[in-house]
Amino acid sequence: MDQLPVAPVLLPAATAVLLLLIGDHGGSEHNLRRQTLSARVAIGSALLGLLIAIQLMLQAADGALMVYRMGEWPAPFGIVLVVDRLSAMMLLLTSLIAVPVLLYASGGWAGHGRHFYALFQFQLMGLNGAFVTGDLFNLFVFFEVLLIASYVLMLHGLGRERLRVGVHYVVLNLSASALFLIGLALLYALTGTLNMADLALRVPLVTGPDAIVLQVAALLLLVVFGFKAALAPLSVWLPATYAAASAPVAALFAIMTKVGVYAIWRVHGVIFGADAGASELLVQPLLLPLAVLTSAIGVLGVLAAQTLPRLVAWLTVASVGTILMAIGLFGAQAWSAALYYMAHSSLTVAGLFLLVELVAAQRGEVGGRIESASPVAQPALLGLMMLLAAASSVGLPPMPGFIGKLMLLQASIGHVHAGVVWTIVLLAGFLTLLGLARAGSTLFWHVRTDMPSGASGASAPLLTATAFLLATSVAMSVFAAPLQRYTAAAAEQLLDRRAYADAVLGEQGGLDARTARPYTGQSGGTR
């Protein structure tokens, strides 16, 4: 099964092509059969993807670094796909979100525009590709794949507000892509490679004035990844965009934000991390303060939100702040907390995006606005799910959010800025509690019976999908011990640069690989 690492990329790509062949003519009557068929194919493929991700994670859990060389070209000359513990967990997380979101979309949203399923698969291909690639230029390509799919998905269902926000979203992302390319070109000019393992070996060798240009390149990349991850002050685009997108798309975007976090981790955490010579721990003075700021802004947004989708979007920003805080602490223990918290918050936020739409649909004309209206038709069920998700976002025991935050607080003990981290994490938790309690009590208790009510009840697929996402999040508490062992091992693996280099560059002699670069034009000559 040594072809397995490429499967998470090829499967959605093939499925997307198949779905395009099946075709989609929008919501017309005789399109119904095609829609049903498309939904089955898409969900079937996503389930298969879930199985592949589980298998990859089981293999990765043994500590194996699975390296797939495209066309058998030796690294660093060819493109490599690398699945380690972190990648495998991100793949599993993507699949765990994709399956219920597809189920939810098949309950109505998919018919509100054309080619929803095909675009969804392309987005999955981009996400999975970004998580498995071991090459920075390849990362750029997969970023573009997932972004182009996300542009269209964001506009799914159209409408004035989506188009208005969509223009901003696309223009901002295209500018970020330009910066990404400039950063990559500079990295290549100074090191002669874009392979992650090779870069990790060469960055420490760059010294003097060259090192300053190299750091400029790395900081440009921080701007790009920070933009995708919604790191303050580049986070202002996120709430408007996610709130305008349709519910299943916003739920899928919950994992898209994490691609930025993942890229920061790989590039600034590992390549420009400890032992990087002149560029050692380059972003440490920046990342922690910015993450703290992100968390603070996110929580203030939660307090100020007027509508439910915006509230959840701000929760996304706040959770990204917490994750990046943990990454910014630089250490195996903190990174373990970051991975655990990332998994929990992606699942919870995705579930919340779906849940708030169910709630909004049952409140008549008021919809997602946080003000009193007629009571929802299923108060016990929706209220309970809301309570679970809210408790987890806030970080109340025994929810996974509590465990994640506890891991983070424990990891920060002894750090210079431990006081700031403790204050912000605890304060953010408390303020999130206030914001969510306000929203919850308005939704479920401050009801008015004089207003026309909305939908009588949500259909089974919609409820199942939402409940599944929240249940997986809760399951993270039940299986906290094995998960913690896994995340701790994943963090250790990230810090072990020698093993990574040996696995990827094995044919070139691993850590001892030294070819004459940067490239100077003389065959065999060095500068």
Binding site: Y151, L163, R164, S175, A178, L181, S523
Partner: protein, 118 residues
Amino acid sequence: MMPSMEFLVATGIGGVTACGIWLMLRGRTFPVVLGLTVLGYAVNVFIFAMGRLWSNAPPIVGNGGAQIADPLPQALVLTAIVIGFATTGFIVELALRSHHESGTDQVDGAEPGRENAS
């Protein structure tokens, strides 16, 4: 004295980038799209130049020790051009759609000085 090739290319890229950024900061979608395109061109030449500038050197390795140009940035820039072309096509269509929907080509969907007339 003749300015060096590096100086000319660097100044050129800088000038084009400045034009691109200026256009991107305009308030209407058409200049913004043009700005993104122009910025894309500047970035493409930048990637190309990052393989160092060579004259009379083929990008083929194994030339008997003769000088060769770095072929990799040329491959990278090809990918970047293709992606840039696709995204430009998309954003042109998106800008048109937005114009039809909102009746204005302002990037925030409303003429300045006028309330959101819906």
